[in-house]
């Protein structure tokens, strides 16, 4: 995959990182918005929990930690690859991508990762620190929870980016995939367990979720971080992520291949 062009692919990470760094001021407001989001859900859940007890296997304190880490994980894995790809397709600049000896999807993935690195260091980490100032977030003490979480966070990024790429490539097949992109965004936020942990879904919906990739983005890593999943369980959920990563490669590559034949460069 890297054979020799590897240097170039790494450069795409570096350049995107530096570009993001140049625009870092935009992300200060982002930190504020994410902290506000955590605040809204924190107080909502606090009211729901009332005195105490457990909801869907979450204690009130676990829920707070889950909320904070889920939002901050999103701060890292979120990207606009879907929009970037569909813009490339719709304005025809995809043509430029095809005259270069590299794989367009790999380049996009690398750019997404460059953005992810930036988001991790200048968005997620400071955001988490700020959230911890305001809300009673309890960090895990077990080293395997940390290690497991960080590895799973990387797979969250991969799976989310794959979904983004698939959504972006839809622009080859429909004239306007704006609707798809919006739907994807809502679906990922809701079904990944960002807004409501999946264990609180009605059982029929919860069991459907087990067969969909979204839980692997937020719910599973969040569960590891809050200590609801421990020991061997971490390997199992990591396995679920790896499985989804491999499975999602299939439609992604298939769409890409198919799109090469469908390609219609807009604007002559």
């Amino acid at each position: 995959m890297f054979n020799g062009t590897g240097g170039a692919y790494l450069d795409f990470i570096r350049i995107r990182f530096l570009t993001m760094l140049a625009y870092r001021v935009n992300y200060y407001t982002g930190i504020l918005i994410y902290t506000l989001n955590i605040g809204v859900y924190y107080f909502t859940w606090k009211a729901i929990y009332g005195g105490g007890g457990e909801l869907g296997g979450f204690t009130a304190s676990q829920m707070t930690t889950y909320l904070a880490v889920s939002w901050m994980a999103r701060a890292f894995y979120f990207n606009n690859l879907d929009r970037e790809i569909s813009t490339d397709i719709r304005d025809g600049s995809i043509a430029i991508q095809f005259i270069r000896p590299y794989n367009y999807l790999m380049v996009k993935m690398m750019q997404g990762f460059g953005e992810g690195l930036f988001r991790f260091m200048l968005f997620m980490i400071p955001g988490m620190a700020i959230a911890m100032l305001f809300f009673p977030v309890k960090l895990p003490t077990a080293p395997e929870a940390w290690a497991g979480f960080l590895v799973m966070l990387f797979f969250s990024f991969l799976i989310n980016s794959q979904l983004n790429i698939i959504t972006g490539l839809m622009a080859f097949f429909v004239e306007n995939n704006e609707g798809f992109m919006r739907m994807k965004r809502v679906v990922v936020d809701l079904f990944s367990g960002l807004i409501i942990p999946i264990s609180l879904f009605p059982s029929w919906l919860g069991s459907i979720m087990e067969f969909l990739p979204f839980q692997a983005i937020t719910y599973l890593p969040g569960s590891v971080f809050t200590g609801r999943i421990q020991g061997v369980g971490i390997w199992n959920v990591l396995g679920v992520q790896v499985l989804w990563f491999v499975l999602l490669l299939i439609p992604m590559v298939w769409l890409y291949r198919a799109s090469r034949k469908r390609l219609f460069v807009q604007g002559g």
Partner: protein, 354 residues
């Protein structure tokens, strides 16, 4: 590899274009069952371009030029037909193939907007796997030739169009491609930059033997660069051959305008050139006249007859230029020469309006 850099046989590309039915009912029907129209952009064209040739590829907007270029560069997959470029079938081994070609789209930038020019070049070096010494040599050569020294550290978004286009050329040529595709490389540029770019391309073709396929709407590009033109209309090739030949075949003749010091009547002029009956004289007034001379007759013969007899104050010789030729071909949609009479009539109409 054979002597041909580009070989195209019966190349065809059709697009499916969505049909939008009219009205609310139509829109509703469209939701459930889409209807498509098949539109052929390129219709079974064949040509081959030998190595080291500069070939102009011209045609009206929407004639299928860009579609052809996009198939030749591996961007589009043809609907049917065969093509090889530099020994490769472009769409089959795209990543390997594009290593050997350079492409400039005049209307799209291939530099990265947010980073410096030199950083873009460095990135392309890695993308094309050019070794550091080769890259340095090539870059120095190009930078000096195109005078980019001052631009290298600027971000791309701060370049003027002319500066950017010169950088685009460098970006397309850093890996020393043997075949270069230029899709309207001079669009929107001022005359100075245009001629710089033409000179540069000519030198590159001479020094490196680079094969160049060029589409343009500026026929001066063609006249300055190309020994051969392929003309496309509605997806079909309507002319393929030398530029001179095109001019000779289509150039209908020349016009000579006279101004006289003393009044000279049309009958007089006609009688002086009686030996050359193919001439067509016309007069604005007694002091001005013009004559249309078909290609078979030498202008000097006509002048010889008139100059010795009339009191001439000024002579102007007007040749049909390539623009006119191409315009009339576009309008008629065929490069087959029309009978002389119709053309002369056209010319006559134009002349009275001058």
């Amino acid at each position: 590899m054979s002597g041909n850099a580009i070989e195209v046989k019966d190349l065809r590309k059709t697009f499916k274009v969505q049909k939008n039915r009219e009205g609310l009912k139509g829109a509703f029907l469209d939701l459930f069952k889409r209807e498509y129209n098949e539109v052929a952009a390129v219709k079974d064209i064949s040509f081959s371009i030998p190595q080291g040739e500069i070939c102009g590829y011209i045609g009206e907007n929407g004639a299928g030029k860009s579609t052809t270029i996009k198939m030749l560069t591996g961007i589009l997959v043809p609907t049917s037909g065969h093509l090889t470029v530099g020994g490769y079938v472009p769409y089959e081994e795209r990543e390997k193939f594009v290593q050997h070609i350079g492409v400039v789209f005049g209307q799209r930038s291939q530099l990265w907007w947010d980073i410096g020019v030199i950083e873009s070049f460095q990135l392309l070096r890695k993308v094309y796997k050019v070794s550091e010494p080769d890259f340095k040599r090539r870059l120095d050569e190009l930078v000096e030739r195109l005078q980019l020294q001052d631009l290298l550290n600027r971000p791309v978004r701060k370049l003027s169009l002319g500066q950017r286009m010169r950088c685009e050329l460098v970006a397309a040529l850093l890996h020393n491609p043997s075949i270069v595709f230029l899709d309207e490389p001079t669009i929107g540029l001022d005359i100075v930059v245009k001629s710089e770019i033409r000179e540069f391309l000519k030198d590159m073709n001479r020094d490196h033997g680079t094969t160049i396929l060029l589409t343009t709407h500026d026929l001066q590009d063609i006249e300055a660069l190309c020994s051969r033109v392929i003309m496309l209309d509605d997806g079909k090739i309507i002319y393929d051959g030398g530029l001179e030949e095109l001019k000779n075949r289509w150039g209908t003749g020349r016009e000579v305008q006279f101004q006289f010091g003393t009044p000279t009547r049309l009958e007089q002029l006609r009688s002086w050139t009686e030996a050359l009956p193919a001439l067509a004289w016309s007069a604005e007034n007694e002091l001005e006249a013009k004559v249309w001379i078909p290609l078979e007759i030498n202008v000097s013969d006509v002048l010889g007859q008139v100059v010795s007899k009339a009191d001439i104050t000024d002579i102007k010789i007007i040749e049909t230029n390539t623009d006119d030729i191409v315009r009339s071909i576009y309008q008629s949609g065929t490069a087959e020469k029309k009978p002389d009479a119709t053309i002369r009539e056209d010319e006559g109409v134009v002349a009275t309006h001058v």
